[in-house]
């Protein structure tokens, strides 16, 4: 399928995998070998030459060992005002010792759940990196929220990453949310230092009937980090999954977000901001699959690109033949701030059903000159006015975050970036 260069780049990693989940790992390995790393110009990785990046930057194809972390370090990393429970990861490994206990929620290592159908949601055949993770992950986190449980406070998945030059970090998370349950996750990464490493994360979310899941993600990795993440979920009848993804840095970041709407009256929401500078390259690929009638999806991604950064967006909406009465909306807006910034966007609709309402839109442009002028006539200097307008531009996505302390934290990060940088 692919003619890549180093087909067996990661074979040592796969060889060194633990021997649990034998059949899932075998499937993963098979899918990995079959697909190979993306070839140059492979459609799915057309603007993100991840294979070359990995080849140039990774030196040691082994799994990074967990860091020695202290309680104080964890406390210092939790953002101000956060009240929920914290689950700590170190170089991709879940550390129960440093994590909070959560009432009514079952938390354990994935290795303790021998019969978990790993890979049944995030299909390894769809993406080579999901396959790689499935074949070679070390251990991961299992969370189960029982049915009819409302977890009031958000659960923070806090990852500390610092691998030695060129190592691999492969977090794996399995989330189960029972019928009629509601929960909020915040997935946040703290880079310790500026080493080069490769994060290959897979999160599988199994939602129940009428479950409400919020998944917020803050990517603020070191500027040399290379990351591929895959989040995939099946949304059942009356269920709702809302994600907000905020990307602020990273050398090359690729986010795959796949929502499968599997029950009527289900709803999938995807929101995102990529606010980049330096040489950051962030690629958001989202995929919504409407297979049943009467479901809805909404998508809004916004990008602000400065310096030599590059933003890539590819939103796919599939509406299958039986998915009548679907509503699907998609929007991608970008602002380029510098001559050297680039955006490649591809909002893609594929529709096989006729009784649907689908639309997508995408824009690339600049700040409104008149709005800038208006603010200047009111005594706000140009730089500040620009920052203000950009902040308002990003605000439309930020307000989708329902957890107040986290929203304020992201808000302050973005303001700081816009004020100081732009």
């Amino acid at each position: 399928m692919s003619t890549l260069t180093k087909q067996d780049t990661f074979s040592s990693l796969i060889e060194a995998a633990p021997n649990n989940f034998a059949s899932a790992r075998a499937t993963g390995k098979e899918a990995y070998v079959f697909q190979g790393l993306p070839a140059v110009k492979a459609e799915e990785y057309k603007f993100t030459n991840i294979s070359k990046k990995l080849e140039q930057n990774l030196t040691d194809f082994s799994t990074a060992k967990p860091l020695p972390l202290t309680d104080a370090q964890v406390k210092a990393a939790v953002h101000e005002g956060f009240e929920g429970s914290v689950l700590v990861f170190s170089n991709g490994q879940f550390i129960p010792g440093l994590s909070s206990k959560i009432d009514e929620v079952e938390v354990s290592l994935i290795s303790e759940k021998a019969d978990l159908p790993i890979g049944s949601i995030a299909n390894p055949k769809k993406d080579v990196f999901a396959a790689l993770n499935q074949a070679s992950f070390q251990d991961g986190l299992f969370i189960s929220v029982p049915k009819k449980t409302q977890v009031d406070k958000a659960i923070l998945l806090l990852s500390f990453d610092e691998a030695n030059e060129g190592q691999v970090i492969q977090p794996r998370v399995w989330i189960e949310v029972g019928d009629f349950a509601e929960v909020t996750f915040i997935d946040q990464t703290v880079s310790v230092g500026e080493s080069t490493y490769f994060v290959n994360e897979v999160v599988e979310v199994k939602g129940g009937i009428n479950s409400q899941i919020h998944y917020y993600r803050l990517q603020n990795e070191g500027k040399n980090a290379i990351e591929v993440s895959t989040i995939e979920t099946d949304i059942q009848k009356d269920g709702r999954f809302s994600s907000v993804n905020i990307s602020l840095s990273g050398d090359m970041v690729r986010n795959n977000l796949n929502l499968n709407l599997k029950g009527s009256n289900s709803e999938g929401n995807m929101y995102g901001i990529y606010l980049l500078n330096g040489k950051s390259h962030v690629d958001n690929h989202t995929n919504v699959d409407h297979t049943i009638p009467h479901a809805e999806s909404n998508e809004l991604y916004k990008g602000i690109l400065a310096d030599q950064s590059r933003g890539v967006f590819n939103g796919k909406i599939f509406v299958r033949q039986d998915a009548q009465k679907t509503n699907a909306f998609q929007q991608n807006n970008n602002i380029l701030l510098s001559e050297d910034a680039t955006v490649n966007t591809k909002p893609q609709l594929e529709i096989w059903a006729d009784d649907v309402k689908c639309s997508h839109g995408c824009t690339v442009g600049q700040l409104d000159e008149e709005a800038l002028f208006y603010l200047q006539t009111r005594g706000i200097d140009k730089l500040q006015a620009k920052g203000l307008l950009l902040y308002a531009f990003a605000g439309e996505v930020l307000e989708k975050i329902e957890t107040e302390s986290f929203r304020e934290y992201c808000d302050s990060l973005i303001q700081e970036r816009l004020g100081s940088k732009f």
Binding site: A341, V343, N344, L349, I351, W352, A353, D354, C358, S359
Partner: protein, 481 residues
């Protein structure tokens, strides 16, 4: 629902209007494709050595290329060795005036509704009629030549204006551009050539009418339009083919060169045989069309109404090289039964202050698949580039598909690019409203579709607009799902 079904059945059983063929003696190349065939064609057309070299070079490049598979279409591959690459009616000499043209050939075009008789035509359209591999007649040449406009078949242009052909052939679509363009460069048989001199506004519409008649042939025509500074021309293209069970290949190349302040308007009504209701037969329409706005303030506008062909693969594009140049693309693509269309455009902004506009309206019915694939690229130096794209899809029936693949690649921070797309079906309330006013469902659908496509149809020259509206109504009447 039963009424709708009966209408649908009626629609699907509707015969392709231009499906007949005529038997006449033809001068044909042997079946197959190799360097000898290319030499054979070149000798047949009495071409100069440089053109033969050019063809052979294209052929050798083509041998190294592979058939593209990225398009959203599936079809049984064509055995290119089983095709005939040249077929011409046995009327060896091209007639100087229409009285000399074989009446049988004129009759073919009469039957298609294209009168080659200058007196009988509506004023203002000059036609180059291409049958299989050769141009059989070109009308109004006298009138045009008084203004210095050259409008003739490609073979004549090679003989009479070799310097122009040599200068512009392959300048917009290089022979190595893609698989089918390379194939066309190697074996192209005929086509139209048009040159509008400096400062001349062409007083009439120029038009080419393509007809495939012979079986087992491919049609590979090549059109080259050169508009010199401050000139204007409006160009039309129409095409039909007989109904045959096997698929036929049509791989054309169209090149447009617009110098500064020149404007070229290119309109197509494509009505190749689409195959029967079970998807058997039909034309594979793999066409490369591209224009370059080479000079400042030049403009190229593509308008297309695509109703025919079993499989369409076509992206009329504009390279906006001159500062302040403008590219436009207006398209209505209709697919029914098992037709597949993957069509769209590329707008490549290179010059400063360039503008482009894309309006694409897709209509899918039956079991067809209709894709829009477009690219808007703003290069680093293209300051203040502006693009607006709109691509809407209309679905009729729940067994068809509509797909949109817009690529937007921006490398300049002063660019303003907008893209929007919607997908919907004809509202029951709209139909009901029409029914209420005494308009039958069938007519209501035609009415709504025509309204939906109006923005594009308005861009067509008058005679074509009438034909296009009829075609739309014919292809779609009654396909309410």
């Amino acid at each position: 629902m039963s009424k709708d079904n009966s209408i649908l059945e009626e629609l699907t059983s509707k015969e392709y209007e231009h499906g007949w063929s005529v038997n006449f003696e033809a001068d044909e190349a042997p079946i197959g494709l190799n360097e000898d065939i290319i030499r054979w064609i070149s000798t047949k057309k009495e071409e100069p050595q440089w053109l033969l070299e050019w063809r052979l070079k294209a052929f050798r490049t083509w041998l190294t290329m592979t058939e593209p598979e990225w398009a959203n279409v599936t079809y049984p591959k064509i055995d290119l060795q089983a095709l005939r690459y040249y077929s011409a009616p046995k009327q060896v000499k091209k007639a100087k005036n229409l009285d000399e043209v074989d009446p049988e050939l004129i009759a073919i075009y009469e039957r298609l509704g294209i009168s080659l008789n200058e007196q009988k035509r509506l004023q203002g359209i000059a036609v180059d009629a291409v049958l299989d591999s050769v141009s059989v007649a070109t009308t109004f040449r006298g009138t045009l030549s008084k203004l210095g406009i050259i409008f003739c078949s490609f073979s004549e242009a090679v003989k009479e204006h070799p310097e122009l052909v040599k200068k512009y052939l392959g300048s917009v679509v290089p022979m190595t551009d893609n698989y089918y363009a390379a194939l066309n460069s190697a074996v192209f048989s005929d086509g139209s050539f048009c040159y509008i001199p400096k400062g001349v506004r062409c007083p009439m519409e120029l038009s080419t009418y393509f007809r495939i008649n012979a079986a087992n042939t491919g049609q590979f025509e090549r059109t080259l339009i050169v508009a010199d500074e401050e000139s204007y021309v409006s160009y039309l293209e129409g095409c039909t083919a007989p109904s045959r069970d096997e698929n036929q290949l049509h791989a054309a190349v169209v090149e447009i060169h617009a110098a500064s302040h020149a404007e070229v308007k290119y309109s197509t009504v494509q009505n190749w045989f689409p195959g029967d209701k079970d998807g058997k037969g039909g034309i594979y329409n793999f066409v490369t069309k591209r224009g370059i706005c080479a000079g400042d303030y030049s403009k190229i506008s593509w308008t297309q109404v695509e109703t025919g062909s079993a499989v369409t693969w076509k992206y009329p594009s504009c390279i906006l090289k001159g500062d302040h140049s403008i590219g436009e693309f207006y398209s209505v693509a209709v697919t029914n039964n098992y037709q597949q269309a993957d069509t769209g455009t590329k707008m490549i902004h290179i010059g400063k202050n360039t503008k482009s506009r894309i309006v694409s309206k897709g209509i899918s019915a039956g079991k067809s698949q209709n894709s829009y694939r477009g690219q808007v690229q703003v290069m680093k130096r293209a300051d203040n580039a502006r693009n607006f794209s709109q691509c809407d899809s209309l679905l009729m029936g729940d067994r068809c598909g509509a797909h949109t693949f817009p690529y937007i690649d921006i490398n300049n921070s002063s660019a303003k690019v907008e893209h929007e797309a919607t997908t919907s079906k004809i509202g029951e309330d709209q139909i009901f409203y029409c029914n209420q006013r005494g308009i039958a469902t069938e007519d209501a659908v035609a009415l709504i579709v025509n309204g939906y496509a109006k923005e594009v149809l308005n861009q067509l020259p008058m005679e074509f607009a009438v034909e296009a509206q009829k075609l739309l109504a014919l292809t779609l009447e009654g396909s309410v799902g």
